[in-house]
Amino acid sequence: MLFDSDEVSAIVVDLGSHTCKAGYAGEDAPKAVFPSVVGSIDGMEIDDADNANMNSGSTPDSKSKGKSKFYVGSQDLGYRRDHMEVLSPMKDGVVVDWDMVENIWDHALRKCLLIDPKEHPMLFAESCSNSQQQREKTAEIMFEKYQVPALFLAKNAVLTSFASGRATSLVVDCGGGSTTVAPVQDGYVLQKAVSTSPIGGDFLSDCLLKSLESKGLPIKPRYAFKRKEVRPGEFQIVDLDLPNTTESYKLYSQRVIVSDIKECVCRAPDTPYDDTSYSNIPMTPYELPDGQTIEIGADRFKIPDILFNPSLALTIPGMENSIETTSSAHGLPQMVIESISKCDVDIRRELYSSILLSGGTASMQQLKERLEKDLLEESPQAARVKVLASGNATERRFSVWIGGSILASLGSFQQMWFSKSEFEEHGASYIQRKCP
């Protein structure tokens, strides 16, 4: 027994832009993994409907107080509701709507893990771009509203770096909503050299969706049809007309399907993509939920290449409006080189040889190989480039959560928590000292 503690087990939460991961410290993988978006039905509309039905007088007061009703979790979101919008509480990896975030936390803690937050220390993974204000707000909500006994905020790049056995590394986090490149030195994030881009898994999914649509292959959301068995083994698809479905819900439902297509068939090309070289590649079949089989050809390679060359997205019909996103974004190798060149000369060599790939999109086939190849060609000659990603798919996808899980379960870590009594004595700003 090396490091176990007999304390009550801590809870580890990694709220990413695409997926929320939550579970017990000390375990190998998070128990709860669900989309970090909420379905929201505006309270005012419900009130109006109710009032009209009951034909009772309404005061303007009760209308303006009308609160939105939120739905969280794959199951609740999987059920289509009239007028339900799908909203993200985060923008560029940082929380913008705390009400929604609390709903996500509640779902994770009370519904999935079935715990009372009063009884468990909480370790939260946080983005490198979290501001002091955001950190203090998190501490306030956790101690005052959830009454947790202790809290810790760990930087996600640091957790990934440590979980790979390195105190110094360059962490390339390809997430859903964005890609972040962050240098870590001796457990500190070098903030000035962090570089981010809005090109993540969600953007790739949107590109694939538009590209398929432009080829006459629209993705029918799961709620939009019924599959009836007319004879044993023979199915008939009946389209449903649901005019009150919101555009955001339709997109959410389509993204679920498209991201699966992406994970199944896409693969980073060995060299930069161009239409002519990939015009004759063999097609790969994929069966959609409605039973229709589609064939995907050049897109298998073109879509992942957008990570390397964001402006490629502009060649996809329907993605022309993404020019704002893509014009400022740099490809992965450029982001890596830029970030490293902002660091002290003494550690550049070390960073080049410890580039860690993490996040959901990092599981893309051949991504690691392609990044390494491009960097070998473009980096300074003396650099010894090494891109690493855990061979274990779970470890790759959940490296942040796993790092937090191990850390929070260490006996020696118990003295590091920001405790409730410290919060009461010093206030929320003390988080900056306890979790630098």
Partner: protein, 137 residues
Amino acid sequence: MANSASGMAVNDECKLKFQELKSKRNYRYITFKIEDQAVVLDKLGGPDDSYDKFTSSLPADECRYAVYDFDFTTDEKCQKSKIIFVAWAPETSKVRHKMVYASSKDRFKRELDGIQVELQATDASEMSLDIVKARAA
């Protein structure tokens, strides 16, 4: 203090032996491991042990910390010596051990006063004599 440091303690014996390596030069290298929530001594190398003996003393699938007293001759034919710190984390070691060693390194290294070169290595090629020479020079 670094973010997400483990809070691991350092056994006094580690500092004592490191002092001896530095001032009395009676060890060529020392390896350290983490046990019972503290960094403790693992192995001591004799003063005449070779670099190969040092690298082979690091286990193939477990993490360690190590210091090595490195003697070399500069291009100007000048005899020099530097103390090298190695954070050893083979790819095949358990993720739990990688996490514990990496999150305890900063604190531990601060206890050892006089380290001039630091390396992280996941296999022998990343701490070859050539690399060490290049870093020390």
